[in-house]
């Protein structure tokens, strides 16, 4: 470790450092990055239980790196830049939004307790929860109204976090299935970049996910520590082994992971109505006259920080059922012109809105008219 580093924050499981000279590459990159060090220290039940899991820091760093990399390649923006050895990774500088977003596919942990469900009972619908990150209050469960009242995040940011969380669930659910891991539930944290973009931050590891063996339902995550089930270190190492093996397969067959069935949520399996949001932009190699005009206008208004502007289209599709392959085909055949345009799309389940509240991630579409 470099002595010239400045420690910015130390939490229960990680330390955030400001990179020392030369550690994070050229100066410009260093100015936009932090170094995250993963520790072997383990806590549970809001710090009431403490201990150490040998090798945990290494496992969590490497598993997070592989899963962040997978998500990035599937179009999910994350703070991950690259690993710096076994226990550290270089990440983009973000301000963490103090909300934990939890996605659940199977009843376990506090959900099973709160709703009186048997642990291991599959949930008919994916459940998404928000927790307020506050050690003082013990990370209480909150809803969108609380989020608004506490001004923790703006509405579009909440939409963004929810839609990314569900998409991450789709991607990880299928990919981990291939590794023999059932994704029971997991916790995500998001951060704001300098430009205000909301991206995935924190970690994705056996500390923050429940992984069960697909065959035996054996727990391969931090529950082994919480509940004194033994073989904690072995379980963490096993997760790393399986995810590493899986990552090789994903690399070879990038799109295969998306198509696999298994325990993926109904809307991702195409059995549930879904919304697709399609983003069409001119290829970076193509001159964008509209973008150039808007850029000039913004500069004229005094927004000197604007470096460049690209104008694109945002299209929402309401679907009776979801087939990513067919949405991809729609993009290629009609919605985008591959000669000059790039596209990407994201998918969110079209949930029936509970009385009085908008459905999570409901599109606020503006139609697809050009110009």
């Amino acid at each position: 470790m470099d002595d010239s580093r400045r420690k910015l924050y130390e939490g229960k499981a990680k330390i955030v450092w400001e990179a020392g000279p030369g550690e994070a590459g050229p100066g410009a990159e260093a100015a936009r990055t932090y170094i995250v060090e993963y520790k072997d220290d383990a806590t549970a039940f809001d710090g009431k239980k403490r201990g150490r899991i040998g090798g945990k820091g290494r496992v969590n760093n490497l598993v997070s790196a592989l899963l962040f990399d997978l998500l990035e390649r599937e179009g999910v923006p994350t703070h991950f830049v690259r690993t710096l050895g076994d226990r550290e990774m270089l990440v983009r500088r973000v301000k963490i939004i103090p909300v934990e977003v939890v996605v659940r596919n199977v009843a376990a942990g506090s959900l099973a307790k709160r709703l009186g469900l048997e642990e291991g009972a599959p949930l008919a619908r994916t459940v998404l929860e928000h927790y307020y990150k506050s050690d003082e209050l013990g990370d209480p469960l909150i809803n969108r109204y609380h989020l608004r009242t506490l001004d923790l995040a703006a509405d579009p940011e909440i939409d963004r976090m929810e839609s990314l969380a569900l998409r991450i669930n789709d991607i990880l659910g299928g990919a981990l299935e291939e590794c023999g891991l059932r994704l029971i539930d997991f916790k995500l944290e998001f951060g704001r970049t300098d430009t205000g973009e909301v991206i995935l931050a924190d970690e994705i590891s056996p500390d923050t996910c429940r992984f069960w063996d697909t065959e035996t339902n054996e727990k391969l995550d931090k529950d082994r520590f919480r509940r004194d089930l033994g073989d904690v270190e072995e379980a963490y190492e096993e997760v790393l082994r399986r995810v590493t093996a899986g990552a090789e397969k994903w690399r070879v067959r990038r799109r295969g992971a998306r198509a696999s069935g298994g325990e993926r949520p109904a809307h991702a399996r195409g059995e549930w109505p879904a919304h697709a949001r399609v983003f069409v932009t001119l290829k970076s190699t193509v001159l964008d006259p509209q973008g150039a005009a808007v850029e000039n206008a913004l500069r004229t208004l005094g927004y000197d920080e604007v470096k460049s502007v690209r104008v694109g289209k945002f299209i929402t599709l309401e679907l009776t059922h979801l087939s990513p392959e067919r949405v991809d085909e729609m993009c290629r055949r009609l919605l985008a012109n591959p000669v000059i345009e790039d596209y990407r799309f994201e998918v969110v389940p079209a949930t029936a809105p509970p009385a009085g509240s908008p459905p999570p991630g409901a599109p606020t579409g503006t139609g697809g008219k050009g110009q």
């Binding site: 001159l287 289209k313 012109n337 000669v339 000059i340 697809g368 050009g370 110009q371």
Partner: protein, 255 residues
């Protein structure tokens, strides 16, 4: 009895939002004296035609992208088959945009570099006279033809442009009065001042300028006639498209 000289049979496709269809009909029928009829976009039979014109306008409101929706009209499947049989297709302005979207010509259109709708007379240099659309022209001839579009900024990958240039498929280029392809003579930012191109087989032409708007001196220029005269000369010399022969031309023929 001596048979009357054969007249060439044109079809002008009408999409919802076409607005140069009547001009094309007038130029071909009244000025050039050929047979011409409107072809509704839902039609699926183009037998008996020698040349299909995809006219200018704002098909389907230019929604999504210019030409993006028109290319899926029923008639476009038939146009593709017509092209395969060797029939001539002339895409003017929005018609050119539709041909690009349909992949019948390479490349794509962007908004004009100026972001303005440009409506003015331009000078075009004929770069290749060995096409069915330019055989009545002299090599290097300068034509004066109007343009009227907001999205005529032709673009394609560098290797595509290079291929078009090498194989003589750039048929018209924007030039100044002296015939030089300068940046100032380029009204929309098109790569290499390209104003019109043909497909590899040479029977599909797309161009942004409007030849149908300048077939009479009264309108300021009659240079558009060269293109229609070329088509007529080509069909009379080479014959129409191969394939199933048509019965006698149907109604709606204007003489």
């Amino acid at each position: 009895m001596t048979p009357a000289p054969r007249r060439v049979r044109f079809g002008v496709v009408v999409f919802p939002g076409s607005n140069c269809d009547a001009d094309a009909h007038h130029a071909i029928g009244n000025v050039m004296g050929q047979k011409v009829e409107y072809v509704w976009h839902g039609r699926t039979d183009l037998e008996g035609f020698d040349c299909i014109v995809l006219p200018g306008g704002f098909s389907y409101g230019d929604y999504l992208r210019t030409g993006a929706i028109a290319r899926f009209s029923p008639v476009m499947n038939e146009v593709a088959r017509f092209v395969e049989r060797g029939g001539l297709v002339l895409g003017i302005c929005n018609g050119f945009q539709i041909l690009l979207e349909a992949g019948m010509l390479p490349g794509a259109m962007l908004r004009n570099e100026s972001l303005q709708f440009r409506c003015l007379y331009v000078h075009l240099r004929v770069e290749n006279t060995d096409t069915p659309f330019t055989r009545a022209c002299r090599p290097g001839q300068i034509l004066r033809i109007p343009i009227a579009h907001a999205e005529g900024n032709y673009t394609a990958r560098p290797e595509v442009v290079e291929d078009l240039e090498r194989t003589g498929r750039v048929v018209f280029r924007y030039v100044n009065e002296a015939g030089e392809a300068t940046p100032e003579a380029n009204p929309n930012g098109s790569v290499a001042n390209i104003a019109g191109i043909v497909n590899a087989a040479g029977n599909v032409l797309g161009l942004m300028p409007h030849p149908e708007r300048c077939t009479e001196e009264l309108l300021g220029s009659a240079d558009g006639r060269y293109i229609f005269e070329s088509i007529v000369a080509h069909v009379l010399a080479e014959g129409g498209p191969r394939g199933p022969t048509a019965g006698s031309p149907g109604g709606g023929v204007v003489g």
